[in-house]
Amino acid sequence: MASALSLQNLTKIYGKKVAVNGISLDIPAGSFYGLVGPNGAGKTTTLQMCTGMLLPTNGSVSLFDDDVWANLDSARARMGVMPQADEIFDRLTGQQLLVYAGLLRGMDKTEVTRRAQDLLNAFDLTEAAKKLVSDYSTGMKKKICLASAMIHSPRILFLDEPFEAVDPVSSANLKDILKEYVSTGGTVVISSHVMSLVEKMCSHVAVIANGNVRAAGTLEEVAAGSDLENRFLDLVGGRHDAARLDWLQGGDNE
């Protein structure tokens, strides 16, 4: 498969702290790619550099063979980045937000309105379409954020912890939509530390720890015949016997 996204020696250094240490990855087109790692591993930093939101200290990012940082406008037109809940205008209704997201990208008004309605239906937000986004629950906000990233039918989707705080029903619906998108040739890059999700959803995975890639490839290649979670723990390390906190007790000693 051709690469949708290619990272070459991508590095980000803050002062003396190396957040991302020369990562090189090839993300195949049409893949569901998971970036997994513990908290502070550098997943979000990597995604931000890939989406043109954080200038790398070194290295390059190519989207369909175009340098992202040299051609930011065309890169942004081809990618969909799921905003965080506080990165949307929540004084708009859900429907207005989607139309706004489409119009900002210069899309035709009639087409944007049609797609907005389709997305609202697909994400079970039809009833909430005319409510202010500020009144949405956390799960509904996640859905409207994802919908706003999809309205222009991007070729690649970047999602940072997309299922965090989403209820199981909404989560299942989101997963179906993303699987459908991948089946039509779309590429999804997600960051997560939920192994069960990655194992179930992703075709490819890269394990990142301390800003380095510890393993990358298809799910089977990275798991190497083992359970992905155990393999992840082996690669990342840091597990130890349960600490005994003598002050932490549930009330039996009272």
Binding site: D86, F89, Q96, Y100, S134
Partner: protein, 582 residues
């Protein structure tokens, strides 16, 4: 562990906890200073101002006291005037906090979530406000005023250090009351703004309060200046001639009985040993204690309501369903028009924006009030250019008002130039509508416009303010951002905002004056070539109007360029601001 949990649930007063929260407030201030050199400079300037205030008041009070004759009438006048000025000062600070600067410091919600009992939150917020550099400076200044002036009249048991100890206690209680009042009103405001009807009613009260305050302060300012100046210049002057404060003195007598100022008046009553003074002291203490108890109860109630009420109820499920609204308009079909539509929607739904529309109307009301009281309605025409000036300020710091949601524009690849032109076009539209409204009011009131020529000249001047100011906004707002309250908590001010909020409009004001150089040069040239005044003004206004249109276009182009260049840095800044409000 068990004991700690019990303390939290019982909600007992815990001095150590209160002190820890006060230190937390200081730590937050230091953290803000460490993060930004700009904030550090403003903090140092604030400290210099505080020191200058203390030194100035101590020296001024010392010399003023020397010039006072220790007579009963002087004592009475001084008591009422100090009570009146102090009350006005407190009202001014409270209104300023509500209308412009917000309630700063640590968040009651965060502390509550951390398990701090409400009583401790309440006390720590009040003590925190008292122990800021400006709070300490005002305390020391008040101490000087009370100490030096009451010392002039004292005899008997309170002579010497005794009166200073009483003044120190009274000044501390006065500052405490002011801090408690300001915190309570700000917290009550957070509850009130949740309800549209209550919000509208309170807005009307605010407008009237500001009108009266603006008139009182200008009158008293001028009057006090002459009185105090005379007193310092002529220490031996006749008291009846120089210390007649008329109606203000009478109002001051009334105010000195109220808890807001009775502790200020108390040292002056204590120096006189008679039954009336004793009665005043007893009543003052009782009224003060009762009002403090009531304030504490109100503060506690409002804080609890604000913490547990959740999101703004008025904007939530009770609101009727909305369609696409302005986005339905056929003219909304591009990034440019979409941003305008979003701005229009935000202005309707976000109280932070709608507050800025009050200013032009407020100035019309202030000048109308002044005109009616002085019998000279011509003063009201000043509202015409002032409206334009204030409307050109409204877009300042606009990206900070968007907050982290602005990042959505970057994800969508919106160009800075398009972004700023859309914002400025909307701003221009609102400003011109407000200008027309103000002009219609000014024309409708009889006796305001002496000549139509003057009216039109001021209107063109105002349009120049609007065009030039709005053209300047994209450049300044792409370079200088400062934190603003969130839409959910419009009264709560993020740490480090107050100083910057005064500083940035000052830069805007100076820059606008610079933008008027072409008009000023035209005046100079026309006058040098011997033209008539009418010709000079007409030519200068035409030149300035043309130049202002160019400023508008050029400012947006430059602002867009700067926005594109600084976009990622702006994202970081906006994320930092969002952190401050959490």
């Amino acid at each position: 562990m068990k004991n700690t949990l019990q303390t939290f649930s019982a909600g007992r007063l815990n001095v150590r906890e209160i002190w820890s929260i006060v230190k937390l407030r200081w730590a937050l201030t230091i953290s803000t200073i460490n993060k930004s050199a700009f904030q550090a400079i403003l903090f140092v300037l604030g400290c210099i101002w505080s020191v200058a205030l203390v030194v100035g008041v101590w020296v001024g009070s010392f010399f003023l006291a020397r010039g006072i004759e220790p007579t009963d009438s002087e004592l009475s006048q001084i008591t009422s005037v100090i009570a009146g000025i102090w009350t006005l000062g407190v009202v001014f600070v409270v209104l300023g906090q509500l209308v412009a600067f917000g309630q700063g410091g640590v968040s009651a919600r965060q502390l509550y979530r951390s398990g701090v009992p409400r009583a401790n939150i309440r006390w720590s917020l009040i003590v925190s406000q008292m122990l800021t550099p400006s709070g300490v400076a005002i305390y020391l200044s008040l101490l000087a005023v009370l100490g030096f002036l009451s010392q002039r009249f004292v005899n008997g048991i309170f002579a010497g250090i005794g009166i200073w100890i009483i003044c120190a206690i009274c000044a501390a209680l006065t500052i405490f009351f002011a801090a408690a009042l300001s915190q309570t009103i700000a917290t009550l405001a957070m509850v009130i703004i949740r309800n549209k009807s209550a919000r509208n009613a309170v807005t009307v009260v605010f407008v009237f309060a500001i009108i009266i305050l603006s008139q009182s302060s200008s009158f008293i300012g001028g009057y006090m200046g002459s009185q105090v100046g005379d007193r310092i210049d002529n220490p031996g002057a006749n008291s009846v001639q120089t210390m007649n404060f008329g109606w203000f003195g009478t109002v001051g007598v009334f105010l000195s009985w109220l808890p807001i100022a009775n502790m200020v008046a108390l040292p002056f009553k204590l120096v006189v040993a008679n039954s009336m003074s004793a009665l005043f002291v007893v009543i003052s203490i009782v009224v003060f204690a009762a009002t403090v108890a009531l304030l504490m109860w109100c503060f506690d109630w409002a804080m609890h309501r604000d913490i547990v009420a959740g999101p703004n109820i008025e904007e939530t499920s009770t609101a009727k369903p909305r369609g696409l609204g302005i986005f339905n308009s056929a003219s909304v079909r591009s990034p440019f028009s979409a941003i305008i539509a979003r701005m229009a929607t935000s202005w309707v739904r976000d109280v932070r924006y709608s507050m800025s529309l009050i200013l032009p109307v407020l100035f019309v009301a202030i000048f109308a009030f002044q005109g009616f009281t002085t019998g000279d309605m011509h003063v009201m025409i000043a509202a015409v250019p002032l409206s334009g000036y204030f409307m050109c300020l409204m877009g300042l710091n606009m990206l900070a008002y968007d907050g982290t949601a602005f990042i959505m524009h970057t994800y969508s690849g919106v160009k800075g130039r398009v972004d700023w032109f859309a914002r400025s076009t909307f701003q221009l539209f609102v400003a011109l509508v407000m200008q027309i409204l103000v002009n219609v009011i000014v024309l409708a009131v009889p006796g305001v416009v002496p000549q139509m020529d003057i009216f039109w000249a001021l209107t063109v001047l105002s349009v120049c303010f609007i065009l030039g100011g709005i053209g300047l906004t994209p450049v300044l707002s792409s370079l200088l951002l400062y934190p603003v309250p969130s839409a959910d908590q419009p009264i709560r001010s993020p740490q480090g905002r107050t100083g910057v909020q005064m500083f940035v409009p000052l830069i805007q004001m100076i820059s606008i004056f610079v933008l008027f150089i072409p008009g000023a040069l035209t005046v100079w040239i026309c006058m040098a070539t011997g033209n008539s005044v009418r010709m000079v003004i007409t030519t200068a206004l035409i030149v300035q109007l043309i130049v202002s249109v160019l400023y508008f276009i050029g400012g947006n182009m430059l602002g867009g360029y700067i926005l594109d260049k600084r976009r990622l840095k702006i994202h970081t800044t906006l994320r930092e601001f969002a952190q401050l409000m959490r």
